[in-house]
Each structure stands twice: as structure tokens, then as C-alpha cells.
């Protein structure tokens, strides 16, 4: 109704213009939708300030205040999508007197500032060109890095660059957002991506009036090494790129077994091939620093196990960016079955796994050098021979045991190297045992009747591979008549002399001594041959602890007292006997 009233006023005005003819007479006006005041079009149509992206409109009114019909051939104008016409009638259209034709001009600014276009109305009285104008209004955000000095402006789609930051550390930049536009605007700061975050954001969605500003922090906390990016979305139209570089060393590990290379991670497993006990399998672990900061490895270790590190590592292992170091690993199984261990490189741990396989059986073993019997006081040699070469290094121990016929052991029965065990080795692909540097080892046969048993044991890398039953060689020391080694003169006086009789009796029995005296020239002895019953004396001796230190050996003392001058005796010979026979005599000259 309001608009009708206005139209009538205009009509009155127009009537004075067309008082003399029956012709159309047009009055052009417009009003802002909705419900704006109707305004005559004099210089143009001004649309109201309009927020960018929104639409305002005016209605154009063409009123025929004449007394004849008018006609409109068409209406054109507008600029793209900024100014658009709508509500147009079908042209040509007739405007009867006192009627009007309306249509709408809408304004949708895409940017801030003045926009203009022309509207052309083709009336039957001539074309009317009407300037259209409007102002786009909106918020205009200025984004600044105010941590830098001076503050720097980050344009939309620009990049906010962070300083290089160690992985796990943080760098913070404070951002300032100011609305320098002519309309309020909203921002919703949001980070899209990882390694970056916002802090101190006042409100997730914030409306900034013209001239207002807000601040918040962007924090860069790299979790990875290298160039890292994300996006900071402030609004639909403002995106800031975030960029930073995570700094740090990064060690990668690659195991190489044979020609196969396999990456292995911290906590991963280095798997060695099944390996026969006594042999070895090698691998290498290559450490590469794929990071952008130099680092070093300060400790590398494997606990005592079947695994070891080959060679001597010169620690620390310095690893510049891109640098590598190689650690040699050796698997030397000393038992059959799974033999897990660990490799610790600084704070990283790798599982070492390998399986020791059972060695193959040994070839037949034989003894060399030694016979099945040995005389007392001998030092026979013994060696070990395999029927065929063996593929692996063998180590072993040859053990000597002695089983005396009597109750007493003979401690003099020992290997030359001392004791009753001797170590040997049989190098791979050979057949003969090596004792130290020699192919055989000597042992003493002692002086006590009994059986010496030689039993070897074999091992490969600590695993017993001795055949079952173990090979053994026995050496018999026979019981026999006493043997005298020497007869010496001990204490000697004018009327007596001492005989020191040294010998042994493997039976640990000397029942009798036979003394034979040879008179000096011109002398006569009352007796030249004297038997001595020595059974009890020797029995007592052989039961002493001292006697057992030298097997069956003895030095017996006999003191001979003479009824006259000792020079009457030229020499003495002695033989000893037991149940098995008599010894050869030994003699000594007194003069």
C-alpha cells in the first residue's frame, strides 16, 4: 500500500508532463527490497551496500502516466553475476496508461568495493540507460606472524615457516588476525595435518568486527625427521600453509646374510641359518643414519652366548647424515637347538636367533704308538687317529685312569704335561690328534702292576661328540719280580757300611734279599752269601702313605757290621725276590 501511494504522487507529477496528447509517458523509479522507499530514477539506481557473497535487490518500476499505451521492447543490462535482472515480463510488453511494469535488479558482489553496470530499457519512446551502482562490503583479515620482528604478513595461501626443530621438541609462532575490512567476519582457526597444533585460541569460532583482532599460537612439534607441512584454515577463504623441518638422527639397520639383505627394526630379529655345532655362520649389520643430524653409536654388545661380534669395534661409531657403519656378527653354536641371544646397540635391542644343528658322527678312532702292555719305568707315547678326516675342528681330552692290582695308586703315572688328562685337538679335515705341537703325548707307566686305561673325549664347540661307547685303550703293567736299579754305599765306618738298595717291585712285595760278598784279595769272609728275609719290612713300607707317592719304588738301607776291618770286603752284590721271582743282582765296590 505504501508503494501505491507513492505511485499516485508520481502519477500526479507525470500528469503535468503529458497534458496535451494521448501518448505514453513514463516515470521510472525503484525501491530497495524489501520495503524500501520508492525513489525516482534520476541519475541512476544505487543498490544498498551488500556483503560479499550475499545478494541485495531493488525493484525497478516503469509507470505509464500518459494517456496512451506504451510499449517496452526489452530490458538489458547487468554485469555477469554481479548485477542480474529477474522478474522481467515477456517482451514486447504493453504498458497501458496508469499501469506499470516492474522487474528486479539484484546485486551480488564478489569483492569489496564499488561495482557498476548499466541498465538499458528499450521503451517505445526511446531507450533509457540507467546506471546501476552498488558497493560490496565484507571482512578483510590480515594475518601476521608477530613472533618475528618485525611482524610479517602472511598472505592467504602464503606459508608460515617454522625454524628447524629437533624431533620431539617444539617451536611456537604467535599469529595475529586483524579484520581490516568493512564488515564483521568469522574465523575458525583449524589445523589440517599433523606435527602442528594451535594453542591459546580464544574461541574456536570467532567473529571479528571491522578493526578487531585476535591472536593465537601455532606450535610445531615434529614427530618425524625432514620437511613437514600442514595447513592452517582460518576461514573458507583463508588458508595458511605451515612448513617446518624436523631435525634428528635416524638409524636404520639392515642385516646381510649371504647376499640377502633384510631391514631390521629395533626389537626385530636377526635370524641366522641353522648351523652345525662347531661351525660358524656370519652376518653383518649395517647401520645407516638416514637423519639430518650426525650421531654416534657408543655401545655394542652381545651377552655371552653362541653369538659374538667379529673383530674389534672402534667405538664410538660416528655416523654423519647418510653415514654407515657395519658390525660383523658370528653365530658359533655350542649346543644343539635354538640359541637365542640379543644384540644391544645403545638403546636398541635386536633379537639374535639361530639353531645349532647336531654334528655328524665321528669316524672310527684308533690309538697309535702305545701297545697293550708296558714295562715299568717306561714312558710310552700315545696318539689318536681317525679313520677319515672330519669337516670340523675337534677338541678333546685324553684321560688316563689307573686301576692297580693292589690297593695303591701310583701317582707317578702321569702325562708329560702333568696330571692324568691332556687336551688335544684335531684340526678340521685332518685325522691326527695334536697334543700341543706334537702328534703324540708321553705318559709314565709307573712301577705298580695294574691297568692303565686311556679314554678320549671329543667335543665340537663345547658339544660332546664322543662316540658311545667311547673308544678306550688299555695298557697292562704286569706283576713281576723286583727290579733293582742301583746299589750304593751310604754311611761307612771302619767296621760297618750301609747299603742303599734302590729298586721297585710292581707287585709291591719284596720278600727276600740275597747279599753276596766278595772278599778283598788276601781276605777271607766267614760267609759270602747271606739271605735276608725282608717280607715284613717291605710289607710295612708298602702300607705307608709315603710309599704310595712313588708307586712301588723303594730305597732300602742295610747296615753291615763287620767283625774286623771293612777293607776285607771288596764288593757286595744284592738281588731281591718275591713270589714272582728274583731280580738281577746289582753290585757295588767298597774299595
Amino acid at each position: 500500500m505504501k508503494h501505491s501511494f507513492l505511485r499516485m504522487s508520481i502519477l500526479a507529477l507525470a500528469g503535468s508532463i503529458s497534458a496535451f496528447a494521448t501518448a505514453p509517458q513514463y516515470v521510472l523509479s525503484y525501491f530497495v527490497n524489501p520495503g524500501g522507499n520508492q525513489t525516482a530514477i534520476t541519475t541512476g539506481v544505487v543498490l544498498p551496500p551488500t556483503t560479499i557473497g550475499t545478494t541485495s535487490s531493488v525493484t525497478i518500476v516503469i509507470f505509464n502516466q500518459g494517456d496512451g499505451n506504451g510499449s517496452i521492447a526489452g530490458v538489458t543490462g547487468g554485469t555477469g553475476n554481479t548485477f542480474q535482472l529477474s522478474g522481467l515480463p515477456a517482451f514486447p510488453t504493453t504498458i497501458k496508461p496508469n499501469t506499470n511494469v516492474t522487474f528486479i535488479v539484484s546485486f551480488t558482489p564478489t569483492s569489496r568495493g564499488q561495482a557498476s553496470a548499466n541498465l538499458v530499457i528499450n521503451l517505445d519512446t526511446g531507450a533509457q540507460t540507467i546506471p546501476l551502482s552498488g558497493q560490496g562490503v565484507g571482512a578483510a583479515f590480515t594475518v601476521q606472524n608477530i613472533t618475528s620482528s618485525p611482524a610479517t604478513v602472511i598472505p592467504a595461501n602464503g606459508t608460515l615457516s617454522f625454524p628447524n626443530t629437533a624431533v620431539g621438541q617444539s617451536a611456537t609462532i604467535t599469529m595475529s588476525i586483524t579484520n581490516n575490512g568493512d564488515a564483521a567476519g568469522s574465523i575458525t582457526p583449524t589445523v589440517v595435518g599433523s606435527n602442528f597444533a594451535l594453542t591459546n585460541v580464544i574461541q574456536q569460532q570467532l567473529t571479528l568486527n571491522p578493526g578487531a583482532f585476535t591472536t593465537f599460537n601455532v606450535v610445531f612439534t615434529p614427530t618425524n625427521i625432514g620437511a613437514l607441512t600442514a595447513q592452517l584454515l582460518l576461514s573458507n577463504s583463508i588458508t595458511i600453509n605451515l612448513a617446518g623441518t624436523g631435525q634428528g638422527a635416524n638409524l636404520t639397520f639392515v642385516e646381510t646374510i649371504g647376499s640377502t639383505q633384510t631391514p631390521v627394526a629395533n626389537g626385530g630379529t636377526i635370524l641366522f641359518p641353522n648351523t652345525v655345532v662347531g661351525s660358524t655362520a656370519a652376518a653383518t649389520l649395517t647401520i645407516t643414519n638416514t637423519g639430518n643430524v650426525a650421531t654416534s653409536v657408543t655401545s655394542v654388545g652381545i651377552p655371552a652366548s653362541a653369538f659374538s661380534i667379529t673383530g674389534a669395534l672402534a667405538l664410538p661409531l660416528n655416523l654423519p647424515p647418510g653415514g654407515t657403519a657395519t658390525i660383523g656378527l658370528l653365530f658359533s653354536p655350542n649346543a644343539v637347538g635354538a640359541l637365542p641371544s640379543t644384540l644391544v646397540i645403545d638403546s636398541k635391542t635386536f633379537n639374535l636367533q639361530g639353531v645349532g644343528s647336531a654334528p655328524t658322527s665321528l669316524p672310527a678312532i684308533s690309538f697309535t704308538g702305545v701297545g697293550n702292555t708296558a714295562a715299568p719305568l717306561q714312558q710310552p707315547s700315545v696318539g689318536l687317529q681317525m679313520a677319515a678326516p672330519y669337516a670340523q675342528d675337534l677338541t678333546g681330552t685324553l684321560t688316563l685312569t689307573f686301576t692297580p692290582n693292589s690297593f695303591a695308586d701310583d701317582p707317578t703315572i702321569q702325562f708329560a704335561s702333568g696330571g692324568r688328562t691332556v687336551n688335544f685337538k684335531i684340526p678340521a679335515n685332518t685325522t691326527s690328534a695334536v697334543f700341543g705341537q706334537a702328534s703324540q703325548v708321553q705318559f709314565s707307566s709307573g712301577t705298580v702292576a695294574g691297568t692303565i686305561t686311556l679314554t678320549p673325549s671329543f667335543s665340537i664347540g663345547g658339544v660332546d661328540v664322543t662316540p658311545k661307547p667311547a673308544p678306550a685303550e688299555t695298557v697292562l703293567i704286569a706283576s713281576s719280580a723286583p727290579v733293582l736299579r742301583s746299589l750304593q754305599i751310604g754311611t761307612q765306618t771302619a767296621t760297618s757300611f750301609e747299603l742303599l738298595i734302590t729298586g721297585y717291585s710292581t707287585a709291591r712285595s719284596v720278600s727276600g734279599l740275597q747279599l753276596t760278598f766278595t772278599p778283598s784279595a788276601g781276605s777271607t769272609l766267614s760267609a759270602t752269601s747271606i739271605p735276608v728275609n725282608s717280607d715284613s719290612a717291605f710289607s710295612a713300607w708298602y702300607q705307608t702313605t709315603a710309599s704310595q707317592t712313588v708307586g712301588s719304588q723303594f730305597t732300602a738301607s742295610l747296615t753291615i757290621s763287620l767283625g774286623g776291618n771293612a777293607t776285607a770286603v771288596q764288593s757286595v752284590s744284592v738281588s731281591a725276590s718275591n713270589a714272582l721271582g728274583a731280580s738281577s743282582p746289582v753290585s757295588v765296590n767298597l774299595q
Binding site: 719305568l377 710309599s547 719304588q553 753291615i560 763287620l562
Partner: protein
């Protein structure tokens, strides 16, 4: 003539000490423990016994034959000479040899064990000790300055009147005779390369003969009549197997045994044919040290390797005394 009565005392059952029954091959110096240790048992079945109980560490020693005694040099800086008696008994005792020269490096004993010669390189002196072991008497020191070079061999005459000395100076060696019998004057007996060992043997005349090992020429020489007009006879040389001879001994049968350090052998020169035979040694012989058992000699000293003995009763053989573990 009235027959001499024989009264037999059966000491076999009455011996005071159990240990007295243990045969002892000899007594050797253990340089590792600086002690004297008996070789318990006979060659082929013996062990090194515990150290003899002496009140000092021992640096050098010479056993006085079968006299159960020894002259030893203590390991202190003074290198005092001591007479040890009762060597293998429980009442072993040591007495300093009063008047003996200090700093003794070498001791030589005559075969009977009655006379010793002490030599001090630092003081260039020799000294005779007679009356051993019961009544030791030291002679005045004798200057050895008339003997040129390094003294490597000593051999004391049976009567203790002189000593043969082998010395080498700048690649030239000589044997000298010196002692009371020469009025303590060093008499040149012969010259040769490097006399490393000398042994005396009964000579055809009253003067002993000497067997000399020349290390430089790999020769073993017989020097007849060392006291008179010496005559040199080559007994064996490299072509016979002499190699680096370092010791010689004369056995009871008058055969000569030679310790060849170079070839690690023991050579034996037959007294009749003068042919030399050798047997191997599983080690390096550096001596032929007479032991208490007849025909038994030490070829080295106990230490890192087993003690080796030469058993010459009657055939030569080398036996070990098990190494201590």
C-alpha cells in the same frame, strides 16, 4: 787267617723316616720357586718333590755328589755361598761358607764332591773350597783377570788342585788351567772357538784328559794330558751330529755324552769305536747335570716345560718328570 765275621743289621725295617725309603733321582734347582727340590722316584717314574726347607731363596746350587750336601748361593744381592748338609734328611741345615767370595755366579764340583770352585764374574775372582762337606776350607781368592772373555765352563780336577776354565772373548776361545797347582796362575791349555763345556776323564797317564765341547765349531775334542803337553783329538763334529754342544759328561763306561742344543739331541760317543749315536730330546737340552742316581743327568731345569732327564743305565734314553700343573 781267621775269617772276618759279618754282622748284618736289618736296617730295612728300622729306618727312621718313611721318606727315607723314597728313592731320589737327584736334587735340582727350581728357578721359578728359587728352591732346591728332590726328584722323587727313579727316572721314568718320578715326580718333583716339595722344596727342601732352606731359610733363603736359592739362586744357584751344586750338589756334592753322593754326599747328601750342596753348595748353594742365596738369591739376595750378596749372593752368599752356603754349605747345606743333610740335604735329603729331616735335619737339613745350612751354614754360610765363611770367607767365601761374594757374588758367586758359577759353582763347579769335582767328581768326588770334595772340592768346589766358586767363580764371581763381578769380582773376577775364583775360590777353591776343599774339605767338603765335613770340613770346608776356602782358599784365598784367585784373580781371574788373566783369563780373557766370558767364562762358560769349569771342570775341577779330581784332587782339587786346579780347575779347567773355558772362556770366550770376541769369538775366540781358550781353555785355561788355574789353581793352587799352578800357583794360582792361569795357564793356557789350548785355544779353540767357544768352549761351552768341559768334563774330565781319567787319562792314560797320571794327568786327566779333558773332553771339551766347542759351541762355535760344533766339535767335541779330547784333550789328552791337560796337565802336561796337551794333545787334541777330535771326537765328533757336525758330520757326526754335533750341533750346538752345550754340555758333556763322561759315563762310567768312559763313553761321552753330548747335549746338542742345536739339534735337540743327545749324542753318545763310543769309547772304543768313537762312533757317535744320537737320540732326540723333546726339548732343548742346556746341561748335563749329574744327579744322585748313577747314570742320571738333568738336561734342563723345571719350569715352563717338563724337567727332562737323561737315563744312561745302560742305554741312553730321555725321560720326563711330569710338569707341575
Amino acid at each position: 787267617m781267621k775269617p772276618l765275621a759279618l754282622i748284618l743289621a736289618l736296617g730295612v725295617g728300622l729306618y727312621a723316616s718313611d721318606n727315607g725309603w723314597i728313592p731320589v733321582t737327584g736334587v735340582v734347582l727350581d728357578p721359578v720357586h728359587q728352591s732346591l727340590r728332590p726328584i722323587q722316584g727313579l727316572p721314568g717314574a718320578s715326580l718333583l718333590g716339595p722344596a727342601l726347607n732352606l731359610p733363603f731363596a736359592v739362586n744357584a746350587a751344586a750338589i756334592l755328589g753322593h754326599k747328601n750336601a750342596a753348595i748353594v748361593i742365596d738369591a739376595t744381592g750378596a749372593a752368599q755361598a752356603w754349605l747345606v748338609t743333610g740335604l735329603l734328611s729331616t735335619d737339613i741345615s745350612a751354614s754360610p761358607l765363611e770367607g767365601a767370595i761374594a757374588g758367586v755366579d758359577r759353582i763347579a764340583i769335582n767328581d768326588a764332591g770334595s772340592v768346589a770352585v766358586l767363580y764371581s764374574k763381578s769380582s773376577s775372582q775364583l775360590q777353591f773350597v776343599s774339605g767338603l762337606p765335613g770340613s770346608p776350607a776356602v782358599s784365598d781368592p784367585i784373580s781371574s783377570t788373566g783369563i780373557y772373555g766370558e767364562i762358560n765352563a769349569l771342570a775341577v780336577s779330581p784332587d782339587g788342585g786346579w780347575v779347567l776354565i773355558g772362556a770366550t772373548d770376541s769369538g775366540k776361545g781358550a781353555v785355561y788351567r788355574i789353581g793352587p797347582a799352578t800357583n794360582n796362575e792361569a795357564l793356557l791349555v789350548t785355544t779353540l772357538g767357544d768352549p761351552r763345556a768341559i768334563a774330565l776323564k781319567p787319562g792314560l797317564r797320571s794327568s786327566p784328559d779333558a773332553v771339551i765341547a766347542d759351541y762355535a765349531t760344533d766339535e767335541v775334542l779330547l784333550l789328552r794330558d791337560v796337565r802336561g803337553a796337551p794333545e787334541r783329538i777330535l771326537l765328533a763334529n757336525g758330520s757326526n751330529g754335533v750341533s750346538g754342544p752345550v754340555a758333556v759328561q763322561v759315563l762310567e763306561d768312559q763313553s761321552i755324552v753330548i747335549a746338542n742344543a742345536g739339534s735337540q739331541t743327545i749324542g753318545r760317543v763310543d769309547p772304543v769305536t768313537l762312533q757317535m749315536s744320537t737320540i732326540p730330546v723333546n726339548g732343548v737340552p742346556d746341561r748335563l747335570e749329574r744327579l744322585l742316581q748313577p747314570n742320571a743327568y738333568a738336561l734342563n731345569q723345571p719350569g715352563a716345560a717338563p724337567l727332562l732327564l737323561l737315563d744312561a743305565s745302560p742305554d741312553l734314553r730321555v725321560v720326563f718328570v711330569p710338569q707341575e700343573q
